[in-house]
Subunit: 192 residues, 2 copies
């Protein structure tokens, strides 16, 4: 039987050593019986395209790669603020709608509510009867989840999981392969 194909979503594609990280993730996948598929695997000829057309070509290739995969393992480590990368969130929703199992992992040990509290740095205020809101008047979700409820709940409803680092370090480590591997292990016990 062919190894299940895993779409490797996450903001590490933006790191300078993204290709090497993708190879490391694919090697971990292979050790656990999966074929890892990294967005940068797409061999695209973008020469001569405008930046906008190049972006559209990358998107089309990523969407096709997702459709070819059996599940997704998404790096939801906070990205430029308390929340995860929107591109990765898009991909989690995409795979969820296709009915594919969604696994997420994060290098931040803090749940959503605590991350927003830290980001807000004392500027949260009480919304009576509902909870806390930020300076823009936006309620802080407090569902005891790691991310926005659509993310955590999609993972669980799909038969997946959300794996949180066991480290106490609070700075985001987009190269956290230990938590990634724990997530791959969780996926490896999925019923065939």
């Amino acid at each position: 039987m062919a190894a299940p194909r895993v779409y490797l979503a996450g903001p590490e594609v933006f790191l300078a050593d993204a290709v090497a990280l993708g190879e490391a993730k694919k090697a971990i996948c292979a050790r656990h019986g999966f074929e890892g598929c990294f967005p940068l695997d797409n061999a695209l000829d973008l020469a001569g395209l405008t930046p906008h057309a190049a972006g559209c070509a990358i998107s089309a290739a990523n969407e096709a790669l997702m459709r070819s995969c059996d599940l997704v393992i998404a790096n939801i480590t906070p990205f430029r603020g308390p929340g995860m990368d929107p591109g990765t969130a898009f991909e989690v929703g995409f795979m969820r709608a296709l009915g594919r199992p969604v696994f997420c992992y994060t290098a931040s040990p803090l749940p959503h509510t605590a991350r927003v509290e830290r980001w807000a740095a004392g500027t949260l205020r009480l919304r009576p009867g509902e909870g806390m809101e930020d300076a823009d008047g936006l309620l802080v979700e407090s569902f005891a989840m790691v991310e926005n409820l659509m993310i955590d709940a999609a993972a669980l409803a799909s038969g997946g999981a959300v794996v949180v680092t066991s480290a106490t370090e609070a700075a985001p480590d987009y190269r956290d392969l230990a938590t990634f591997e724990a997530c791959v292990r969780a996926a490896a016990v999925l019923p065939g």
Copy 2:
């Protein structure tokens, strides 16, 4: 023929006047021949549930509501940082995977690259041959797009659009119904 159903995605569900805003959006939809469906329309009995179980119930209802809709109009106004709300990004990806047209609008006049530059406040550095990266070593996307390329490109590939406010105000206005209505108008000219 029944009016096409529009899933109204966006972080305004977190505002104190979210229900009134949802009603205002639904009225605008009706004026343009659509039936607007707002996540808070879901009548859920969450009494007695743990926060986590309540979050899962809200997610399941939102996913079912999305599946019942013909297209999505998503508010991608920046949320707690330079990027959009991850929950909304999830929903954009979800509807894209289902093949439904994706329309997005934003109350920020700034494209993605400019928003990240402003957020970084002078801390960006050059990655030779590739562009600028932030203090975490993450490349700043520069595809002349409004959001992460997966968002803009999904809207365009789906037959939708990304509508940007015509205002010059840079502070996010989650209650921007003028740009929302411009987006509804763009959706109203979709071929049947």
